[in-house]
Symmetry: D3
Subunit: 67 residues, 6 copies
């Protein structure tokens, strides 16, 4: 199975904050933090918990460049 | 100056491919690749070139999690 | 493997138009069309061709409602 | 009136969950579920309720392909 | 007809640049520029041309804040 | 410092509504409202408050056109 989304960064879940509709997931990626805001439902669906090894998936059209 | 976008990942420009409207920028980010698709105009506006140290800016609502 | 993105719609590739940086993929999805704009690279990476059974993946934060 | 967004899928509202800022709307589209996360304000502005016939609007740059 | 997307900014088309897959549309919006990148197809579908009065539609989850 | 995101609209913060994970910020831009949904964290990080002069940053691929 392959996904067209070009950016796949593997990290470890450091923190999860769940609200009614949305949830915030903070990953550790080689010392940097990656923050994802996903639905609270998907936390349950993936059985996501602190310490999990996961992949952050980001479509290349969503990435801006700062110089 | 601060930006609300939570993900600011520092990398180095490895490759730029410009088309008429859009351009693809590939960064080296801690050994992984980050691919950004931005307007060709902004390549000129930033004076972006291979070897530049830049920051990839990604809003947390654009990040999915795969487990 | 599970993905947090809530919308996974299965369709069949009807048409692919590749440009230098971006490509357009049109799916038949239950009689409707789904249009995806992805990088031309990912067409090659997935070996995507007309007739392929694929899944359109869409984050729920990207869906608007019209009434 | 026409909208540039290419993906317009007509469904029926099955469920609405409102939080303070955001709300989740689940549509039935020909037996599939489509999930939209929109502002809680827009639920009120559209007078959205279960049973409404609505259209999900998705920009083609937001659609990934899985094969 | 109402759209959940909160930002509807009325402007006038100043410039259109069409490529094979994507097109760039520049609007004059109260003296500022708004740049939209949409599919080349939708330019034809809307019959979009310089001088047209149009509305830029932007989902609130796509807006960052810089301070 | 330059950002590839093409749309930068300067406005004044009129209202902030914070929830656990997300927050809504309403700007006044020359008499129009611009609504941004960002993480509650970034409200604190930017020290954002009513009356602040800020810039709304929007990637051009996120803008649709209605005609």
């Amino acid at each position: 199975m392959k996904i067209s989304g070009r950016n796949k960064l593997q990290g470890v879940v450091k923190e999860i904050i769940k609200d009614t509709v949305m949830a915030k997931v903070i990953l550790d990626y080689k010392g940097d933090e990656i923050v994802a805001v996903i639905t609270a439902d998907s936390i349950d669906d993936l059985g996501l918990k602190v310490g999990d090894e996961v992949t952050a998936l980001i479509k290349s059209t969503e990435v801006m460049i700062i110089k």
